[in-house]
Symmetry: C2
Subunit: 254 residues, 2 copies
């Protein structure tokens, strides 16, 4: 499959850090949000990893992905408890020290004062940031994330992550938007595989995916065309529809 | 954090193969199912990766994880369309050929005959299996998965994957069940971090996780104890409750 054009986009990977996802205790709610935002702003999300709260594993994963990507986003493990070890592990990966960041501490003190709760040692831990890292604002609960090298460190709590990510998004530069066109075919994909393939073969500039669903009697496939080339996607879409019509295969445009 | 006892369990990784998850088009529904089943049957799921439908990437990921794990589960990319390249990529990883598996073909022909639909070339692709691989039965739609080395290859459609996984589960040996105990604290985790840590420090044989939730005014944390040692988990749980009572911190037992 050709990815000529799509592969020109900046690359990103996402690392979900948390034993609770791996044990099945918690259902991840961040992957799809970040995947959609990357798609929207023209960043090619090339990989997601879910890893445990383990210092060596975090270090190895971060260093490997830092080399392979323009952006690495992490979620989880920056709270106040003993199993929140993301910050220290990332500092360790880059060989830098952690220090109390005065700006982060100021924000936390103000936040807790405002909520009328105590600013204790555990909470002070959330102001510990690797030396030289840049803070990521947290408009919801104050405890900041941070950026070090090309690593963007976010908390795991979904509604906090979302606000922080959206807030930061204008500073993350994707080159251009990826265009998509969707089509639903209510025929098993085995019937239409040759049609999709023949259209794909005519266009280097786009990727066609076929994503089957199977909930009898509702059987079929969602066909998705993706490209950054508007002409290519329009032409390919029209060609696909023509071929479906010719084959008398019913379809719906999403 | 000590993982002495938990780490004795057989290790597994899960690889989700599919551009549609990385683009945000589809929300994954398989990770949590497999994570929970692994937890249930005593397998330590150490990592999940979501990767694109890309031959070299699939090969590299499979070989790396095959070496690090007792089991590697994959989902996605074994259907009939041009973007289903998991089978050929895994065969390529192990340097083996793909052939039409006669048993798989027989099952597919019978299935499609029964459904009164044509068994065409695209569907025949689903009978192509790496040489020497063992079939995984598909009680829903016949197209089999397969096992090669320690790689277990499943389709991506969630309700089909589930039946196939549950069907195969008795042949996958986890050593013993992991015990868990849960507790909900309706106090921000920053208030109780020192209590959890003090209990964790007393027990090498278990892992305590703290998973905050933040939906004001509902703010708090789920505390999860995990161990394969029944005595340790009972004692630690009792100690935790005592300390919460002493600190006048309200809790609910799940």
């Amino acid at each position: 499959m050709s990815k000529k054009k799509i592969s020109k986009l900046p690359k990103a990977s996402l690392v979900i850090i948390g034993n609770e996802i791996l044990s099945g205790r918690t259902i991840d709610k961040n992957i799809n949000f970040i995947a959609k935002r990357c798609d929207k702003i023209g960043i090619n999300l090339i990989e997601v990893r879910i890893i445990p709260d383990d210092k060596e594993c975090i270090k190895d994963t971060i260093l490997e992905l830092s080399n392979k990507n323009d952006y690495v986003f992490t979620t989880g493990g920056i709270g106040p408890t003993h199993d929140d070890i993301t910050t220290e592990s990332i500092a360790y990966a880059f060989g830098v020290k952690i220090e109390i960041n005065l700006e982060a501490k100021k924000r936390l003190i103000a936040h807790y004062k405002n909520m009328n709760v105590e600013f204790n040692d555990a909470r002070a831990k959330m102001a510990s940031i690797p030396l030289g890292a840049q803070l990521i604002d947290n408009p919801v609960s104050s405890a900041p994330g941070f950026i070090i090298e090309n690593i963007y460190v976010f908390p795991g709590v979904p509604n906090i992550l979302r606000e922080m990510f959206l807030n930061l998004e204008p500073t993350i530069s994707g080159d251009q938007n990826v265009l998509t066109k969707n089509l639903k075919v209510k025929t098993p994909e085995g019937e239409i595989a040759f049609i999709i393939e023949s259209v794909q073969n005519n266009y280097d500039e786009l990727i066609i995916g076929s994503y089957p669903f199977f909930n009898p009697p509702d059987i079929g496939s969602n066909i998705v065309l993706r490209s950054i080339d508007k002409k290519a996607i329009t032409n390919a879409f029209n060609e696909l529809i023509e071929k479906l019509k010719k084959g008398k295969i019913p379809y719906e445009i999403d």
